[in-house]
Structure formats: structure tokens, C-alpha cells
Amino acid sequence: MGSSMTRGDIENLATDFYGLLESFKHAPLYHISFEIFLVLAVIWLVVFRKPRPIEKKLTEKEKQDLIDEWQPEPLVPSVDPNHPALNVRVLDGIVGKTVEIDGKKSLNFATFNFLNFVGNQRIADKAIQAVQKYGVGSCGPRGFYGTIDIHLELEERLARFFQCEEGIIYSYGFSTIASIIPAYSKRNDILFVDEGVHYAIQKGVEASRSHVKWFRHNDINDLERLLAEQEVLDKKIPKKARSIRRFLIIEGLYVNYGDICPLPRMVELKYKYKYRIFMDESVSFGTIGQAGRGVTEYYSIDRQKIDLISSTLEYAAGSIGGFAVGSSFVVDHQRLSAQGYCFSASLPPLLAAAAIEALNIMEEDNTLLFETIMEKSKRLHKKLLSIKGYIISGDEISPLKHIRLTHAFNTIGRLEEIVQFAQTRDITITVARYLNDEHLLPEPSIRLILNVEMTDEELEFLCAVLQEALVKVTT
């Protein structure tokens, strides 16, 4: 019925509509504005408002239930009683060229006293004198009457030995480099670190919260690549880059690998890319170089070019503690900001006295001791290479070598068997122990350490026993 709208209807509609408009004109202002507001509110509700999530408010009873239900894990997981750390060999007596285990003496190729200073009569006498003058402990940190004049003497002697301006000593070898790195490198700085550094350096790097760039072990090309990449990034943010410090953290002689770092090239790159070098010479102090001054002497590099050399007194020097030497500008900062120095008790004076006497012996001797140890290391290296079935890693002048079995064979179980066999033949060697959370866990190995007073026959004996052990293990 189509348009049943007659003319009259349209007229009515128009009149009604006109009437509506008229009423708008007469309506009060507040009425109109209220209506407009309502319309807008409806539009907003429909288009813009998102549904709000319902807030979770717990009642007291629910909270108490949660507290009652919560079960924590046990404090420590269960422990395997056969773990090697729980079944160590117990020594009895001086750890020198020989050690005594269960009443039997055996040749010692496992401990780090390269120069055989442990048990040295002169050092023991000086230590005894120190106890008679100072007692055993120092009873305080360096800032609060824990500084004993013998500490100052040791620091001065170390600085003189290394021909640097200033030295600083710590009471624990592990804490030395682990406190030094966070004292200089903060959150925004960049650390270029070799992958093969030892655990204490890794902890120092972690504690510093800086950006870390690991480069492949002793691979100078990888380091250059990282440096070049960083330079490109720097060009994009030149202002910020001017306040980012850069450090290169390396070791002189790597404990985990036995090889020496390529220092000359690293020093060249230092002046090109403007980073500072912190070198840890724990193993190379007292063993490498004509006078035992480490890798810088070996390469004849000016020691002033290395910003900080840190080392430990626990290896060649036969005492306890660690130290760092360098220019006064760099070293003095640690006296207020290295945590292991400021907040920890100082080194017991008898250990400082032992270290001073060790330095005396090293300086008096001048070159004979160090020539001998380098010579014997080379000889040992040659002898070890002649045993078939072992892979020897380490430089030939390094007194610390790692021995592994050929690839498929190399497991900790077999290495432990070799060690046990050697013990029955009165040779003490050890498998190198690591924790599982190392940055780059090295392959299992036996760490052989040369004592400078080992004779040729004893080295021969060692090789013979290793040969026998190999036969026993691989059959």
C-alpha cells in the first residue's frame, strides 16, 4: 500500500516537527545543555570506554589460607655423598716438593708453590719473628688500626719490585681482582674480557654490573672485531660515548689453559681504541720473565703502559693474600672504593712478613731461580709431548700445564682413575676442579704444576707413571 501518506499526514508531521523546533527555542538553556551532555555521554560510553578489570581484594581469611598453604623448598637440595669435594685427600705436614698423605710421602705436582717457598727456613723464621712481635691477627680493617707497618713495607717492596709507583695489598687472593674490577667499572662502562679468565675475575665482572663483551680465548682478531663494532656504535652517540669507560681484562698466564696472552698487540690496540688494561698476573708473578716480573718483562713492554697489574701472593710467593701495582693515580682509588680492602680485616702480619722475605729471596737471586724454572718447564713440556695419548695444553715456558686424554676418552672419571693410580705410585697430581656456573667451563683436565726444585729424574718418573696410567685406563 505504498505511500499511504496523504498530504494531510505530511502536513501533520511537518507541524509536529515545527512544534518540536519551536519548543526547543522556548526551552530553558540548562535543559538544552543537559540534553547535549547526555547525548555526548552516550557516544563516549559506546565508543571510548574500555571495560575496567575487577580488582582482586583478598579477605583476611584468604590471606591466612595462602600463608598456611605455602610450602617452601628445602634450604639445600639433597647431596651426593660421593662428590669429590666431600672426599678429598687430607694432608699432614709441609706442602713442599713432597707431601704426606695417610703417612706416605709422595712427589707433589699439584700445588701452586712454583718456587718452593713453603717450608723455606728463612721465610718460616721471619714469620715466627712477626708472631713474636705482632701476634697472629690484625684485629681490624685497614682504616681502623688494622694497618700495621709491615703492610706498608710490603706494599712499598712490591711497588719497587715491579718498578711501579704504588702497590696495595689485600687479605685474600680471590677477593683481590673480584674487588678491583667493581671499584673502577660501573654500570655504564664496557668490559672486554677474555673468555678463559678464571672464576674470581668472572665474579668481579658480575659484581660490577657493566656491559661485558667476551672475546674468544687469546683470539686477538675477535677482540679487534668487538672493538671495531663498539667504535661504530660510539659514532652514533658521540656525547654519551665520551663518558663510557672501557677496560680490557686479561690474565698474563691463564690458570685454566696455561698459555700467555698476546700482550704487545693488545697494548697497541689500547692506544688506538682508548681502553685501559687490567692484567691479572697470578700465575706469571715469580715464574715468567728474567727476574720474575711477569709477562711484561717477558715481552719487554714498558710496565707503565699497563694500567693495573694484579696478582696473588698465594702461588709463587708462598704466603696468603693478593696485591695490585700500578701508577698512584690508579691504585690509590682502591683505598676508598674497593670493598674487599675497606670492609675487610687486613692481612695477618706474619703472612706479610713471609711475603717480604719471599720478595727478598727473589730479588737477591735475581735471575737464577727464574731461568731455572723456565728451563725446567721447557724440559717437562718436551717430555710430556713424548708420551703418546695425552694432549698437553700450555706454553712451553709455562710451569703450569693441563693434560687431557684424546677427545672421546677425556672424561672426569678416567682422569680421576689416572690420579688415583698416580697416588699409589707416590705421585700426587689432581684433576682441576671447577664449579658448574663458570662462563666457559674448560674441558676436564689434570693440572700439572712444576716445582722449581724438581730434579730431572723426578720429571722422568712423573712421565713414566703417566704413561703407565694411560695404559691402565685405556685398556
Binding site: 583478598l58 678429598v88 672464576y199 674470581a200
Partner: protein, 546 residues
């Protein structure tokens, strides 16, 4: 500072110490029923001394509020120091004054500067001026009386010159609580014999060829002494905390640590990767609130429940002199199934009837504290630290500890000193020393408080911090005391809060009553000269009036 809150259900006697202005004949210790004194209410003293019936004054601690004028003057002092610092820096920059101190050898080669200029602002302009009161070298055993090497500076502490003479002084600074720092006697003789038998060091780690017979002996003896199943010892106290907390806690755990904890604990907590929150110092209500919130809500973002919760506290806090509230901690820990780690660096040997530390002091059960940690540097006059607890815990630490696997084992003379002093401690000699220490502590603290100085902490703790507030007074106090032959330790910012610079006395069993009296006479004199009697709770008196 608020000492503690009042617990419901215990009879609480509030000691109101009225000032001498209102009641001139008031003596300390009288119980005054809480009269509503209009003036007192206006001043709003925060006094919260808890007197728990069960513990009979074991937890009595006082932390008097900083007087307003002292606070203002201290801020003013630092402001003036900063102004002068900027002035001097400006003079140095414009070459009117010569720059002193070491120079960067790489400075001219466009290397990024090694230190921020604001870091070294403090060192150059404030620390160096007063540097002579720190790092004083000694030339003898750090016993009750010792010899300080005399050093003079001709250029305002930039460099020193040693005159070759020594100054004899009474030692109120070294941590020698039981007086075992001796160069003669059974401990020293045994240490010397052990050098002859075992040499000075071992050059290897415990897990390889570094464990000697004496390590096993020490750990056994220590476990017996503390009444625990097993213990493990390390060569450095700082490292014991920082290298073993990562073994116990990891990502997904929550650590609640007291706000005044030592740097080594904080470093260990950071390295462990666990989340951590701090609670107000010794405030058990705050701790309970945080524990409840932690268990109910879990991890803040993911709401996953925490794997475990560890509460980390210290036995005696070395800067505050306060003692942790062990009975309440054990209650909380049991209620919320958390674990408790107690660092007894200062309290082992020094507290408790038998010298076993805070657990002994409160008479609690050692099994309730999950992880007992302590150091050998303080009461045993040696070096190193230990952790003690159940055998499963110690075995796990042995397997995974960074210090056990990578750090050299403890040397023979150090271990022998600990063994000798432990043995002495368990005999009559030990009882004599413990009693002497407690007696000295109470005497010294009482006299200081009676003279009108502000002293923080528990009345039985041998660490006695006395507040000085202003940096200049701190320095002057230290130098004046040394002139009178008393060596003290003064600490300021940043080791303490900016306002609370203080002098910290460490009482020893080796101090005789005569030495303490000499010290008190000097403190009395210097305190009057510099006006250090800040206390409004206790009347200011001269020593001769006591």
C-alpha cells in the same frame, strides 16, 4: 631512631626520662607512671624501650633522637665544606692554587676519565683534610695498649713523613673483644710451633690438595663448640658472606635483609641473583608485614610463589651496637616457614655466658637458626670466617662454595690460633675473659650514659657508639683523644648516615679498670671542651660528680 614497637600481651613499663629542666632531682632508672605532661607531649619524644618480662632486660636498647640544633649545625657544616670545596676547585682550575694528588698518565691522550669528578670531589676536598685520623699504622700487637707509628704531614695530609718514633696509646679501636691478640702465651706459642710443622701457607684450594689435618680438626672443634652438626671454615670473613650467599639463594628466592646489614652481606645477596627487600632496623612488625605480603602476593610482577624466603640479620650490628631480636625472629621464622641466616661476626665469643654468641645470650635452641655464620677476626684474634649448621647444609656448601673451590686454604698459624683460643674459651680462662668483657662493657656504657652523652645500642654489647654528629667535632675528638694517649675510631659519612657521625669504642676483656678510667677521664675532658653532651634524657654530669 625508634628502638622498637610495643608488643601486645606483655607488661610494658615505659621509662620516661624527664629532662633536668622539669625535675632536677630525677635519677635515671626510676619508673614514672605516664603522667600527661603538656610540655613532653609537645616535644614528642619517641621513646620505645621495651621491657619484656621473659627476657629480663636482655633486649634493652636505646636510640635517642637527634637533637634539632645538632641536626641543623651538621647540615650547615656540610654545606660550608661543600662551598669551600667548590671554591678550592675553582682556584685549582684557574691555576691560582697548585693541583695536588696524582695525575692520570693517560690524561693527554683523549682517554675517557677514569673517575667522575663528583666522586673525587669528596675525596679531594673533605676526606683529605681529615685523612690523618684514618689508616693509622701501628707497630705492635693490637692489644689493649699498643704503639702507633708517628706520622706528620707538612702539606695538609697530601703526603706523610714518618718520624721514626712511636706513640703509646690505649686501644679502644681494634676488635679484640676477648683479649686474645697477644704475642706471648699459649696461643702464640702454638701458632709458632705450627709454622715449624706446617709452613706458612698451603698454596692450593680445599677441594684439590689443600686440606690439611688441622682444617678437619678446626671444623670439628667449632661444630662441637657451637652445638651444631657440622661447620666449614674459610680464609676471609668478608668472602664467607659474599661467596656463600650465592650458593644458598638464587633467582626465584626472596631475601629479607635488615637495613643496617654489612656490605659483605649486601654483596652476597646481590651476587646471588635473588630478589631482596630490606626491613627497618630491628623492626619485627615491619618484617612480619613484609613476610605476609611476600607469601600472599608472591613475585611482584608474575605473582609466582617464592621458592624460599631467607631472613638475613646480624648478631651485633657494628655501627649501631644493637643486638638482633632473636626470640621474635625465631617465632616469625617458624610461623611463616622462612629460613634464618645470622651473621655473628662481632658477637661470637663476645656474647653469651659461654661465649657462643647471640643464641647463647638469649638461651635459644641452635637448631632454630638455620645458618650460623661468624668470623674469627674479632674475638679469636685470627683471620677467616665460618658457616655452621646441619650436616646436609654444610656438605652442600662444601660442594658448591666459590671459596672452597677457588680460594687457597687457611694457613696453619691462623688455624692454630683459632684452635688454641677456642680451647681456652671452653676452659676457666675463657670464663674469666667473658666475665671481664661483660663487666667492662657495662661499666663503660653506664659511665658514658651517666655523663650525658648519647650512646646507641644494647647495654650488653661491647660495641659502644657515641654520637658526635658534626664532622669538625668528630675530627677534633679523634685528634684530642690521641693527644691524651687514647686511640679511638671515629666514623662519618659515608659509612654512617650523613647526620650520624660517631665514635665507636670497642671494649676488650684485656682492658683493665685503670685503662677504662683513663679513657673516661679523657672523654670527659674532651667532651666538655667540644660540648658533646647532647643527651636530653640523661643529665649532663662531669665524671668527678659520678
Amino acid at each position: 631512631m625508634v628502638a622498637s614497637s610495643l608488643q601486645a600481651g606483655h607488661v610494658t613499663t615505659v621509662h620516661r626520662h624527664l629532662t633536668s629542666k622539669f625535675h632536677s632531682n630525677e635519677e635515671m632508672g626510676q619508673t614514672v607512671f605516664p603522667l600527661i605532661d603538656e610540655n613532653l607531649k609537645k616535644k614528642n619524644y619517641k621513646i620505645g624501650i621495651e621491657n619484656n618480662n621473659d627476657d629480663e632486660n636482655l633486649q634493652h636498647e636505646e636510640f635517642e633522637e637527634t637533637p634539632l640544633y645538632a641536626a641543623i649545625l651538621t647540615y650547615l657544616s656540610y654545606a660550608i665544606l661543600c662551598l669551600f670545596g667548590w671554591l678550592r676547585d675553582f682556584l685549582r682550575q684557574s691555576h691560582i692554587e697548585t693541583k695536588r694528588g696524582a695525575v692520570d698518565p693517560n690524561a693527554s691522550l683523549a682517554f675517557v676519565p677514569l673517575y667522575q669528578s663528583y666522586e673525587s670531589f669528596y675525596t679531594r676536598n673533605m676526606y683529605t683534610r681529615v685523612r690523618d685520623i684514618f689508616n693509622r699504622p701501628i707497630a705492635s700487637v693490637p692489644g689493649a695498649q699498643f704503639e702507633l707509628t708517628e706520622r706528620v704531614s707538612d702539606d695538609y695530609n697530601w703526603t706523610y713523613r714518618y718520624t721514626g718514633k712511636t706513640i703509646s696509646a690505649i686501644n679502644l679501636g681494634s676488635y679484640n673483644y676477648l683479649g686474645f691478640a697477644e704475642k706471648t702465651g699459649p696461643c702464640a706459642t702454638n701458632a709458632i710451633n705450627s709454622i715449624k710443622t706446617f709452613g706458612v701457607a698451603n698454596c692450593n684450594t680445599r677441594t684439590e690438595i689443600g686440606t690439611q689435618r688441622y682444617h678437619v680438626e678446626l671444623e670439628q672443634l667449632l661444630a662441637d663448640f657451637l652445638h651444631v652438626e657440622s661447620s666449614i671454615a674459610f680464609g676471609m670473613g668478608f668472602a664467607t658472606n659474599s661467596l656463600n650467599l650465592p650458593v644458598l639463594a638464587s633467582k626465584g628466592d626472596l631475601i629479607l635483609s635488615d637495613e643496617m646489614n654489612h656490605v659483605s652481606l649486601i654483596l652476597g645477596i646481590r651476587l646471588s641473583g635473588a630478589s631482596y627487600q630490606t626491613f627497618a632496623h630491628n623492626d619485627m612488625k615491619d618484617l612480619e608485614k613484609k613476610l605476609r605480603a611476600a607469601i600472599v602476593h608472591g613475585h611482584p610482577r608474575t605473582n609466582r610463589p617464592w621458592k624460599k624466603i631467607i631472613i638475613v640479620v646480624e648478631g651485633i650490628y657494628s655501627m649501631e651496637g644493637s643486638i638482633c631480636r632473636l626470640p621474635e625472629l625465631i617465632e616469625l621464622k617458624k610461623k611463616y616457614k622462612a629460613y634464618l641466616y645470622m651473621d655473628e661476626a662481632h658477637s661470637i665469643g663476645a656474647m653469651g655466658k659461654h661465649g657462643r654468641g647471640i643464641v647463647d645470650y638469649f638461651g635459644a635452641d641452635t637448631n632454630d637458626v638455620d645458618i650460623l655464620m661468624g668470623t674469627f677476626t674479632k674475638s679469636f684474634a685470627s683471620a677467616g670466617g665460618y658457616i655452621a649448621g646441619k650436616k646436609s647444609l654444610i656438605d652442600y656448601i662444601r660442594m658448591n662454595s666459590h671459596a672452597n673451590t677457588y680460594a687457597s686454604s687457611m694457613p696453619a698459624p691462623v688455624v692454630q690460633q683459632i684452635i688454641s683460643s677456642l680451647r681456652l674459651l671452653q676452659g676457666p680462662e675463657g670464663k674469666k675473659r667473658i666475665y671481664q668483657l661483660a663487666d667492662n662493657t657495662r661499666y663503660f656504657r653506664q659511665k658514658l650514659v651517666d655523663m650525658g652523652f648519647i650512646v646507641y645500642g644494647n647495654k650488653n654489647s661491647p660495641v659502644v657508639p657515641m654520637l658526635i654528629y658534626m664532622p669538625a667535632r668528630v675530627t677534633r675528638f679523634n685528634r684530642e683523644m690521641l693527644r691524651r694517649g687514647i686511640a679511638v675510631v671515629t666514623v662519618g659519612f659515608p659509612a654512617t648516615k650523613l647526620l650520624d657521625a660517631r665514635v665507636r669504642f670497642c671494649i676488650s676483656a684485656a682492658h683493665t679498670r685503670q685503662m677504662l678510667d683513663n679513657a673516661l677521664i679523657s672523654i670527659d675532658e674532651v667532651g666538655t671542651e667540644i660540648s658533646l653532651r647532647y643527651s636530653t634524657r640523661h643529665k649532663s654530669r662531669r665524671l668527678r660528680e659520678l
